[in-house]
Amino acid sequence: MRTRAAISAALASAGILLAGWQSGAHVAGTGSPVTAAASGSSSSSGSTGAGGAATTAGGGAAAQAAGTYTGTAVQTRFGAVQVQITVNAGTITDVTALRLTDEDRKSVQISNRAAPLLRAAVLKAQSADVQTISGATVTSDAYLTSLQAALDAANL
């Protein structure tokens, strides 16, 4: 999941940069400042959508659209992801991941999606072992016959 998220976010960023670079190159031919912005929404990873903007480092000397383009950081569940591309003579010569998530603990977490689980395989405890009970909202009346009421009575 993390890898997929990172890759799809990176691809999204790269796509944004590519779009930016193309329109930048087009604009460059007319002698205008080379800036471009594009936006797109990212991956299925639960990120909140992303905007991307690319600007050249090379300024007006970008007849060949050369330069380094930095994508905006894309937020994912596993942290921020950000890439940078280098363009030389109209060709992408390098893609660098500036940030690939910033929390170590989460980046080792592959997937936390819910999957079917047999009742026998779920984390269990006897009611004698627990200190409190969670259930769908208990009304005052239903409380009287609930497991929580039994626990509370034992701890008076």
């Binding site: 936390n112 779920v122 200190q131 259930g135 929580q148």
Partner: protein, 287 residues
């Protein structure tokens, strides 16, 4: 966490001995918001524990009572009722009321409408967020009073601090009711004890019928839900509570959205009794 299945001896004496397995607790309860709130503290002997417990319970009850007086739609003089009747408009509501309204509408956006503060008849009902907020505020009151180890349960929504065995780092163990047999536990999850999860909320259709509203494309309606019950473990109680509600309303799509977007563990019971669980609830891999 591996737990043995040996059962507790019959006729167990009360108070129980303080062991890691069965930490001795003392608890007090009171009624508010249509439910019962229980506060439990580790038992260090009656003379030391009872005065602290009673003071702490009074502080918690104050928090709940004040919020109930403002937000209950069952009290004709509450701010919520005066808003519902049109006597008051939102722009003239108190800043506390507007803050909770902002929270609730924020959660509606974050859950793509599956959590909503509006009843099908259009009345603003913040009760879906107020109980969680009250639990969180009560926790702040307990910590301000210097109470470090506690377990608060408000109608089945749980928030803990510290450990049932002070200083040990042992987590509180919270059971989850089986919606198909309310006298038994479906599962359990360790909370607190220094871990990152301190809250557990369960939402479902079994206690009050189908009481969860589903927001569709521009409309809110009652709907028979795909899930019978959903439990969410999180760092804070409002997140756990809101997401549990949203999952029962939103079904599988909302489960995936919740687990992808928040650091939570989820255990959901489908209508046919089958389970959907995140890895933390799997006994083989879990917490």
């Amino acid at each position: 966490m591996q737990r043995t299945s040996e059962s507790a001896p019959a006729g167990q004496p009360v108070p129980r001995p303080a062991t890691r397995r069965n930490p001795a607790l003392r608890s007090r309860t009171f009624r508010c918001m249509g439910t019962v709130i229980s506060l439990a503290l580790p038992d260090r002997g009656a003379p030391r524990t009872v005065p602290v417990l009673e003071g702490a319970t009074a502080a918690v009850e104050r928090v709940f009572t004040e919020l109930d007086a403002m937000f209950s739609l069952y009290r004709p003089d509450s701010e919520a009722s005066r808003l519902a009747s049109g006597e008051l408009t939102l722009r003239d509501a108190s800043s506390a009321f507007r803050a909770r309204f902002a929270d609730a509408t924020g959660w509606r956006l974050l859950t793509e409408g599956f959590f909503t503060p509006e009843r099908p008849d259009g009345v603003l009902d913040l009760s879906g967020i107020i109980k969680g907020h009250a639990i969180g505020q009560a926790a702040a009151a307990l910590e301000a009073a210097g109470v470090e180890d506690w377990c608060l349960n408000a109608g089945g929504d749980v928030l803990v601090g510290g450990s049932p065995v002070p200083g040990s780092g042992t987590p509180w163990l919270a059971g989850i009711v089986d919606p198909l047999d309310r006298a038994s536990l479906l599962s359990a999850f360790p909370l607190g004890g220094g871990g990152r999860f301190e809250a557990l909320a369960t939402s479902g259709t079994s206690e009050r019928g189908d009481h969860i509203w589903r927001a569709g494309a521009g409309r809110t309606e009652f709907r028979r839900t795909e899930f019978r019950q959903a439990s969410v473990v999180a760092a804070d109680i409002v997140t756990a509570d809101v997401l549990a509600t949203a999952i029962v309303a939103g079904g599988r799509a909302m489960v995936d959205w919740a687990t992808d977007s928040w650091d939570v563990e989820v255990l959901a019971v489908l209508g046919n009794g089958e389970l959907l669980a995140t890895p933390g609830f799997n006994a083989a891999r879990g917490a």
